[in-house]
Symmetry: C2
Subunit: 432 residues, 2 copies
C-alpha cells in the first residue's frame, strides 16, 4: 500500500480491519518483548569474560606504583586506568576523575555539588538562586531530564537539528539569560536520534559567551567509541576547543565503560579543566575515600591499551549491527513510503528514533503494551515527559535477540499503522 | 620514674635532657612510621583472597533469581546479598539498601539528600533552613565532622561518657532546639574511644522526642562485628528500639564490609525504616541505575552466611589483637603511673584514644612528625578540628607491622613525656 494520505476511506477501513485482526492475535499471545532501555545483550556481556577472573591472587592487586588497590585511597582513580581512559577521551590524566560504576551517578553528583556549593565561578550555590534553567536538546536522554526535574531545575527544550542542537537558540538563551546555568549534550550518537555534532556545532559551543559565569556544558560522551560501522565519524574535542577559546572551565565531560565492559560493573569518568577537577576533588574528598580500584585494575589488565579496547568495540558492533539492521529493515518494509513515520539510521550508539504522525506516539505505546511489546514511554525523550507533538518514540534494539526483535518490530509497525489509520480516518471525518 | 607531678625540678630537667637525646636520634633516623588512619594491614587483606577469583565465568554472574549481575538494574542490591547483610545488621532485607564500596559516600549522600530535598518529615529542604545543627559526641570521627563542615551544618560537641554520649545533654538539645536535625553516633567501638553504647543509652536514643520532626540519628555501625576478644559486647538494635517507641523513621544506620573484606572494594549498607528506604530509593532512582552487583555477588559467594563472615572476623581479630596489645603494653610501660596520660583499652574497633595533659596534644603531634611518626592531627577528633583541651590523640594500630608499631610507639611515648615535662617545668616557672 502506498502513502496513507493518498488512500481512500474504504481502503483505509479495510486496512484497519486487517491490521486489527493481526493485532488481536498479538494481544492473545503471551510473548513479552522489551525494547525499553539501551541495555547490552548477553552476547555483548560475554565479550568481557576475561576480565572477571583477571585478578586472582593477593599479588595481583597492586597498581603500577605498588599501591595496594584493595585498601583505602586514590580518590580520583589508579594511575594506569587514568592514563588509559585519558587516551580514550583525548584528555590529560590530570583532567580526569575515575569513579565507580555509574557515569549517571557522577552527573547527578556534579549537579548536586553545584546545587549545594556552586561551581568554581558561582557567586552562590545554585540551590540559593531564585531559579536555575537548563537547556535540553530534545529528543534527548530521559535520565538527564529526570535529574533536572528532581532538583527543580527548569528545562527549556532546544530543537535537535541534523548536526546537533539548534545553536542559534542555544547562543541566544545562554548569552542573554543568567538563569541558564547548563545544557545537556550527548555529542556523538545522541540518545535517541543518533546525531553526531558537527565541528561547527562543537566550535560554537566552545565559543559560547554565557551570561551566567558559572554556566556548564554537561557533555555526556556515552557513545564516544560505540560505532556500528567502519565509517566512524569523529567529533571535535570540546575540552580542547574550550581551552582555545579561553573558557576551559565551561565543560564537564562524562563517559563510562558501561557499554564497553559491564553496565553494572564498569568504570565511570569525569573529565574537565584542571581547575574544575581540583575544585571537584576538594568536595569529593569529604564524600568518599576513593572508588573501587580493583575494578579499575581489572579494566586495565584486560585492555592494556586503547587499541585493544577499540577491538572490543568492533566485536560489540558485530553483535549490534545486525540488530539495528533488523529494526531498520522491518521499519522500511512495513512503514516505508506510507508517509506515516520517519526514523533515524544511526552510525552508532544504542537507539533508533522514530517520529510518527503527530498525536500518535502515546497511542502507539499503549497499543504496543497491550500487544506484549514494552517501549520507552512516549514523551520520555522530552523534558517533563511532554513531547509537544506526541510523535517521538525511542527504540532500543540492543537487548533482545534478533528473533525477538523481529517479532517486536512486526508488532510495533502494526501498531504504528493502526494509530495512523485511526488518525487519518478521524481527520477525514472531522473535515467531512 | 614515678608520677611527674611529684618529681622535683632538677629531676625533671634531667629527664628532659635524657628524653631529648633519645628524641634527637629519632629525628636523625630516616624511618617513616604511619599511625594516622584505621587501615587494615596487608595480612588482613590477604584473608579475602578467595573472593578475588570467585567469579570467573559468564555463567557465574547470575543472582539467585537468574538476574544478570553484569547488566543494569537492582537499585538496592542483589537479593542474596541483602539477605546476608540484613542478618548481619539484624534488620529485614526490605529495610536495607546495598551500595557501592563506601559507607562514607552513603552517609554523605544521605546528608546531601536532606540538604537538597529534605527527609520524609521535613517541611522544606535542610538547605533552605536558616540554620541546621548536628550533635557531635566527641572525641569522634573526623570524617563525620567534615561532612557537617562542608554543608555548613553547625556542630555542637557532646561529651562522650563511659557508656556513650552524655544523654542528658543530647535529650535536652534534641527536645528543645528545632535547628538540631541530627547526631553522629558510632555505637559500638566508637571511633576513637572504643566506647560501647549501653542498653540504657540506646533506649534513651530511641525514646528521644525531637523538636525537629525530621531529626535523624546517623548510626554508623562501622565496627558491629569487629571484636578483638572473645568477650563480645552486644549493643541493642536501634531500629528495633525505635520501632518500639513509635519512631521508626528516626534512624539511618550505616555499615560496610570495608574492614571485613576490602576497604577499597567492599559493600556499603544503609538500613532504616521501610518508609525511609522507599523515600531514599525514590531519589536514588534518579541518581544511579544501581550499584556494582558483581562485587556484591563476590561477597555472598565467599561468605555464604553470617557464620562464615564471623569466622573471618575472628581471623581479623587474631591479626589485630597483638597490634593493640603492643600499643597498650608500650603505653603502660613508658607512661604508666606518670600521671601524664590516660588511654582506652578497647574490646574492638580500630583505635586507641589517648588523653594527654591539657595543652599537649598539638605539641606531641608536632614532635612526632619531626621524629618520623605520622599521627592523626591533634584536634581531628573534635568538631572543626578544635579540641578544647588540646589533649586527645587518636592512635591507629592496625596498619603497621608489629615491629614498626613498637618503634612508632617508643617514639610516641618519648614525645608525650617531653611535652609533659616541658609543660610542668613551664607551670612551675610561672608559679615560682
Amino acid at each position: 500500500m502506498e502513502n496513507y494520505a493518498k488512500v481512500g476511506k474504504t481502503e483505509l477501513l479495510a486496512e484497519l480491519h486487517e491490521l486489527n485482526s493481526r493485532y488481536e492475535s498479538y494481544k492473545a499471545s503471551t510473548v513479552r518483548l522489551d525494547m525499553t532501555r539501551g541495555k547490552p545483550g548477553a552476547d555483548q556481556l560475554e565479550l568481557s569474560e576475561k576480565m572477571l577472573g583477571i585478578i586472582q591472587k593477593n599479588e595481583d592487586c597492586f597498581d603500577e606504583n605498588g599501591f595496594d588497590c584493595r585498601n583505602y585511597g586514590l580518590l580520583d582513580g589508579i594511575p594506569e586506568a587514568k592514563k588509559l581512559f585519558a587516551e580514550v577521551l583525548g584528555v590529560q590524566p590530570e583532567q580526569l576523575i575515575l569513579g565507580g560504576n555509574s557515569s549517571l551517578n557522577m552527573m547527578y553528583d556534579t549537579v548536586a555539588r553545584a546545587f549545594c556549593f556552586g561551581n568554581l565561578q558561582s557567586e552562590r550555590p545554585w540551590g540559593q538562586e531564585p531559579r536555575i534553567k537548563f537547556l535540553c536538546p530534545a529528543p534527548g536522554y530521559d535520565r538527564h531530564f529526570a535529574i533536572c526535574e528532581q532538583f527543580g531545575i527548569e528545562m527549556i527544550t532546544v530543537p535537535m537539528l541534523e548536526d546537533g542542537p539548534d545553536m542559534d537558540v542555544v547562543e541566544r538563551l545562554v548569552s542573554t539569560d543568567e538563569a541558564v546555568k547548563g545544557i545537556w549534550c550527548v555529542p556523538k550518537y545522541s540518545n535517541p536520534t543518533g546525531t553526531v555534532y558537527s565541528d561547527e556545532v562543537v566550535r560554537r559551543f566552545a565559543a559560547l559567551n554565557p551570561k551566567a559565569k558559572d554556566f556548564r556544558i554537561f557533555w555526556d560522551n556515552a557513545y564516544l567509541v560505540h560505532d556500528l560501522y567502519d565509517e566512524q565519524p569523529q567529533i571535535l574535542n570540546i575540552l580542547e576547543e574550550c581551552a582555545k577559546t579561553g573558557r576551559p572551565d565551561m565543560v564537564y565531560m562524562f563517559s563510562s565503560t558501561s557499554k564497553i565492559t559491564y553496565p553494572g560493573s564498569g568504570v565511570a569518568m569525569l573529565a574537565s579543566s584542571v581547575d574544575n577537577i581540583a575544585h571537584i576533588k576538594e568536595k569529593m574528598f569529604v564524600q568518599t575515600i576513593g572508588p573501587d580500584k580493583l575494578n579499575q585494575l581489572r579494566h586495565v589488565r584486560m585492555f592494556q591499551n586503547k587499541e585493544s579496547l577499540m577491538l572490543q568495540m568492533k566485536k560489540h558492533a558485530d553483535i549490534l549491527r545486525p540488530k539495528f539492521q533488523t529494526v531498520l529493515r522491518i521499519l522500511e518494509r512495513d512503514l516505508g513510503g506510507r508517509g506515516i513515520a520517519n526514523w533515524s539510521n544511526p552510525l552508532g550508539g544504542y537507539f533508533i528514533s522514530v517520529d510518527v504522525l503527530p498525536g500518535c506516539a502515546k497511542r502507539i505505546c499503549a497499543l504496543c503494551s497491550d500487544a506484549g511489546v514494552a517501549l520507552t514511554a512516549a514523551g520520555a525523550t522530552f523534558p517533563y515527559g511532554r513531547d509537544p507533538l506526541d510523535s517521538n518514540i525511542r527504540l532500543a534494539p540492543s537487548y533482545p535477540p534478533i528473533g525477538e526483535l523481529e517479532e517486536a518490530m512486526e508488532r510495533f509497525t502494526v501498531c504504528v499503522r493502526i494509530a495512523a489509520v485511526e488518525k487519518l480516518l478521524k481527520e477525514r471525518k472531522a473535515s467531512a
